[in-house]
């Protein structure tokens, strides 16, 4: 297993490199506008633009690879390979005066806010993680319990109500749900504690909790609906398996048959889906963060793209790519643990 994990981790490094390369190509090689021009102010002189370029490091070659005269290549002095090198060595030495939070991994300085991207990510990650993990708890509890009830009460009123709710959850856009939730709880019911924004857990645990409550539920609804349908389908299928009949023939109470034998087999595929969904959210729950004004990674990503803030874009992309690849490794390991028929290959 150790060898398997190491191999997968090496793959992760490769995947992350490919992701950064693609991001570089999209935002540096094919840019809709020269960032230096944007940052040089209105009606800039060519000299000013050149200076901005030099400051931002945009005067260097992208990859520094000379074709066909490969031997004249200077990749260590290029933008992309310089970026990769700084990821490892850190960017403390390159940090402009007055900017805090540079270090390892070096992610550069945001063009927009003139802060270290590394610092921004460290500050914002807990917000997104709070949102994503809390939401995950809500949607797992909701989705799995609704799915079980629905499967066991198949074709009854309860089942139809639950599946109607699931259809609503899948169809309702998150931004609309978010605004409706805010309107009802804030405007109409006037519950101030449920307001927008993010309260640091360290400052006030109860404030952290109450401010995240609405976002958790709004975010969870969509996923809960998907999970309920999936658990329902899986459980119905599993309950017609021969080994369920064996479990009943042993004389096990129906409760044990469903909760132990039925669920074990039905929830295993859910693990895969859960890992991927959670990983995607760690990269930022853009709409929920925006509606509830939680300045997390998703919010940051949107800002970065709109402001053409290259280092910020790359930084967020890197976090997302890492989350997805590492999560998929965790899922695969967990899966092999849950289903003994699966072996590492």
């Amino acid at each position: 297993m150790g060898r398997y994990v190491i191999r997968r981790l090496l793959w992760t490094v490769l995947v992350v490199m490919v992701v950064t390369l693609i991001t570089f190509v999209i935002f540096y090689v094919m840019p809709p506008g020269d960032p230096a021009v944007r940052f040089a102010g209105k009606q800039p002189t060519p000299g000013l633009i050149a200076e901005v370029k030099k400051n931002l490091g945009l005067d260097k070659p992208l990859f520094g690879i000379e074709l066909p005269r490969v031997w004249e290549s200077r990749p260590w002095d290029s933008q992309y390979f310089g970026f990769l090198a700084r990821l490892v060595t850190g960017d403390k030495d390159k940090c402009p005066a007055g900017i805090e939070g540079c270090g390892r991994p070096g992610l550069g300085v945001s063009y927009d806010s003139r802060t270290a991207v590394r610092q921004e990510l460290i500050e914002r990650a807990p917000r997104t993680l709070s949102l994503a993990l809390g939401g995950a708890v809500v949607w797992l509890v909701m989705g799995i319990s609704i799915g079980i009830i629905s499967a066991l009460r198949r074709r009854t009123l309860v089942d139809r109500a639950a599946m109607g709710f699931a259809l609503f959850g899948i169809s309702a856009p998150v931004f609309w749900l978010g605004l409706m939730a805010l309107f009802v709880f804030w405007e109409v019911l006037d519950i101030e504690a449920l307001g927008t924004g993010y309260v640091e857990f360290a400052d006030s645990p109860s404030g952290w909790f109450s401010h995240l409550l609405l976002p958790w539920f709004v975010l969870a609804l969509l996923f809960a609906a998907f999970y309920a349908r999936m658990v329902r389908g899986n459980l119905i299928e599993t309950m017609s398996e021969d080994y369920i009949r064996t479990a009943r023939a042993k004389g096990l109470p129906e409760r044990t048959v469903v909760m132990k034998h039925g669920l074990r087999a039905s929830l295993t595929p859910v693990v895969t889906m859960f890992g991927m969904d959670l990983a995607l959210l760690v990269g930022g729950a853009v709409i929920t963060e925006t509606v509830f004004n939680i300045q997390g990674l998703g919010f940051f990503a949107v800002q970065a793209v709109r402001g053409f803030d290259l280092p910020a874009i790359i930084g967020v992309t890197l976090v997302g790519a890492l989350a997805v690849t590492l999560m998929s490794l965790v899922v695969d390991l967990l899966y092999a643990y849950l289903d003994p028929r699966v072996r590492y290959a």
Partner: protein
Amino acid sequence: MTASAPAPAGAASPAGEALLEVKDLKVHFPTPDGVVKAVDGLSFTVHRGETFGIVGESGSGKSVTCLTALGLINRKAAKVEGEISFMGRDLLRLPGDELQKVRGKDLAMIFQDPFASLHPMYRVGDQIVEAVRVHEDVSKQKAQERVIELLSAVGIPRPRERFRGYPHEYSGGMRQRAMIAMALVHNPDILIADEPTTALDVTVQAQILELIDRVKTEFNIGVILITHDLGVIADVAQTVMVMYAGRSMERGTKDEAFSQPLHPYTWGLLESIPRVDQKGSRLLPIEGSPPSLINVPPGCPFHPRCPHRFEPCDKERPEFADRGGGHPEACHLTIEDKRRLWTEREQRRSTVAA
């Protein structure tokens, strides 16, 4: 019913007490297309120390009968009538939690496909330990010791090691052995084996049948062996019941069924088994296919496929009774006609290739 439980006239059943008495059982499933009459008026008795073979094609109601006895069919979807009396208690009228206490304790069942019958994600040993502990308050260690003993008793080598194995690490025959061990944990009175060898290799089939036979003697239990294979019956059963379209066509001792069969359907079944001992004998399949259980042919359900049908067959349902042949059957032909026809068919079969 003329021929009922404490079987008449000599060798119809071995000595042991009557364990399971099924009386006029009907299991009907109403569906949008019509009522599926899976079992339609079935009676039989199983005794201690006896292997009771039920033979029939797919959909003849063999499995449904046994699943009904164990309460493993969806009672909400089925209309069940009659009586299944197990050591004095009517299983059909037992409340759910009472029936659950009988299941796996006094009445155990093993199934056709040992590959699918064990939970793929739990260790085989743990699944059997679970079966021990559901009916008996014993410690995990004690249960474990007992299971290991049982695994060894059913012929699983290195049982202590195998205990920790998962089903996918077992071969088909080993899995069926494990299922048998699971069925035996509480010394049941009856073991129902639903096509226990169908999914297995021929060599393994014989071993499993031999094991079931040994278990029957050692534990002194009654075995109900469901199969579509008369060869399996010939190996281990003492009594045979031939089923067709949810009804019993003929019932007798193994010798009666094989040497003096009285029902044309039984003849058809016997002629469709390959026989190595008679050189040049030919396989004669039964023409046609089993009837739909929604539109069961009127009269005798077998008459559309029967080469000997005559005037009353499509109108009158033949009674399941002893017509003088020594054991009960359900065919309108007179006993003389039956004897003559069977002799003719036997001769024709062995001379065809000559």
